[in-house]
């Protein structure tokens, strides 16, 4: 039951983040055209590299843990696959990009490697999903489009463990499960609860929530037999296709935009409420359990909770006075409030994240028993949470005003 590890990576929003296999580095998009790679040095995360190739904002990054390749998708309608190769002149390892022609006429919004890391799927605003695989005969990445029956931008994707099925959440208010079977890359998958004999672009299921709303996040459970999706009408729906049964949890909080399964019977969702919420259940029913953000903890003076590295810097930079000015600067106020600590809670939220959480990913543990998750958000913070540190949601919640 440990406290969350908080790292303020930047003052700009973090659009997307992805850790490498051993969690020593993280690739981050700071709302810009470049990928920034931070490496862990002691307790700090420091910038070690910047990868520049895209012409427009990078919307999504995914780092393949086993093959150590990074794929980035951007609003410039391209995707690049980055590989670490030794530089011919210096011999150092540099990241070399390979362009992938997606053949889309709108921005790419989301990208994920498949479990076997031999293909990746790119969600686009062109009402299609580009599934890309490597063609060794011609030495380039080939993309095939999943088009029917998508009617609007695809917002998020998740791969099934069998490397063939793909879940997609779209702005046409539907969550769908597609077959992304590529002939020369995949072997025939065994029949699953989603169907059998699935050629490319078969729709295995199409689901929506009761009041509709953009589907911001989708996720398969660790076994792949259950699908969860978060929708803009502030609901989380869990689908059991063998029933078919859909459990919809309606919440009176703000919508969730990202979710991650932590075991076969629990998942964590986060979004505009700025805190990760845990849900749990089984084929018999699902319910909300609590939050990972213990907002009832006493705020320390000077708000040192906002800077996770305490005591690593010594001397004049660590004084409380310098800290008040730093707080005011990062919050954009012209002059710091006179009372140290309590006065500054006017604009500061009680939750750890000060703005929407846009991305939640498993950090440590196995797929079916995740121990820690990492979140990044619009406030430029990267926080690593212990999954078991769940507290009940009480009336006194940071960003909410419940009646």
């Amino acid at each position: 039951m440990s406290a969350p590890e908080i790292h303020s990576l930047s003052a700009t929003p973090i659009t997307s983040h992805s850790f490498n296999g051993d969690r020593s580095q993280v690739a981050v998009s700071l709302n810009s055209n470049d990928v920034t790679i931070y490496s862990r040095q002691g307790k700090d995360w420091n910038v070690t590299e910047t990868l520049s190739e895209h012409d427009k904002l990078i919307t999504s990054i995914d780092w393949a843990p086993n093959s150590n390749r990074i794929v980035t998708a951007s609003q410039d309608r391209n995707a690049y696959v980055w590989q670490e190769t030794p530089d011919p002149q210096t011999g150092k390892l540099v990241w070399k990009p390979t362009l992938v022609l997606l053949r889309i006429n709108r921005a790419a919004t989301f990208v994920r490697w498949s479990p076997n890391e031999d293909k990746f799927a790119v969600a686009t605003g062109a009402r299609a999903i580009a599934v890309c695989s490597y063609d060794s005969e011609n030495n380039w990445w080939v993309s095939r489009h999943l088009k029917k029956p998508i009617r609007s931008t695809v917002l998020s994707l998740d791969w099934h463990p069998n490397n063939v099925l793909l879940a997609a959440g779209s702005a046409d208010m539907k969550a769908r499960v597609f077959s992304a079977y590529i002939k020369d890359v995949d072997s025939r998958p065994p029949p699953s609860v989603w169907g059998e004999r699935l050629p490319f672009n078969t729709v295995c299921g199409e689901y929506g929530s009761p009041s509709g709303g953009w589907v911001h996040a989708v996720g398969f459970s660790p076994s792949g037999d259950v699908l969860a999706f978060a929708s803009h009408d502030s609901t989380i729906s869990i689908v059991y296709p063998s029933g078919p049964v859909i459990y919809t949890i309606k919440l009176n909080s703000l919508p969730y935009v990202t979710l991650s399964w932590t075991s076969e019977d629990s998942l964590i969702a986060a979004g505009h409420d700025c805190q990760p919420i845990v849900f749990s259940g089984s084929a018999g029913g699902w319910h909300l359990v609590g939050t990972l953000d213990d907002t009832s903890a006493a705020k320390q003076s000077g708000g040192t909770r906002g800077f996770g590295v305490a005591g690593s810097q010594v001397g004049r930079l660590n004084s409380a006075a310098f800290h008040t000015f730093r707080q005011a600067d990062s919050r954009g106020t012209s002059s710091p409030t006179s009372a140290a600590g309590s006065g500054s809670t006017d604009t500061e939220l009680l939750t750890v994240h000060q703005n929407t959480i846009t991305s939640i990913r498993p950090f440590s543990g196995t797929a079916d028993r995740v121990a820690q998750v990492s979140t990044t958000g619009v406030d430029g913070r990267l926080v690593i949470w212990d999954v078991n540190n769940v507290t009940e949601l009480t009336g006194k919640m940071g960003a909410l005003r419940l009646h």
Partner: protein, 140 residues
């Protein structure tokens, strides 16, 4: 006329043999590809008695090919003829350089094989079925 890709004599002989081979039944096909490194055309496969759908399965999804097809056409009045059809198999997901090279050498190949009927298949396996070929041949 300038040639971007060479056609070796062996291939020309193969094309002649394919054209004059006596056929009793079924469709036969010969698949030719462009070798980008050597800038030469080479024969890849020959199929005897294959259906259009099986042929579509055999052809690569992401690479252009020239396919010489001896098609068994059943006329409404009961006759059977075996016209020679050239299929330009050029899926859009192919590598662009190879696709352009393939397109530039296509006319040359057509003249060498001496075929007048051409079918373009640009969208992969869906575009090569019995119905498509029958309807195209009625027009040609």
């Amino acid at each position: 006329m300038s040639h971007t890709v060479d056609i070796p004599q062996a291939l020309k002989d193969s094309l002649r043999n394919f054209r004059f081979a006596r056929r009793n039944a079924g469709h036969a096909a010969m698949v030719v590809r462009v070798n980008k490194q050597k800038l030469v055309m080479e024969e890849v496969d020959t199929f005897d008695d294959i259906s259009p759908e099986d042929l579509a399965d055999e052809l690569p999804e992401n690479s252009p090919r020239y396919v010489l097809l001896s098609y068994e056409l059943a006329h409404p009045d009961g006759r059977k003829s075996f016209p020679l059809v050239l299929i330009n198999w050029a899926p859009t997901s192919s590598e662009i350089g190879l696709l352009t090279l393939h397109a530039s050498a296509f006319l040359d190949f057509q003249n060498t094989a001496d075929v007048s009927k051409v079918i373009e298949v640009r969208d992969g396996a869906e575009g090569l079925t019995k119905q498509v070929i029958d309807s195209k041949l009625k027009v040609l």
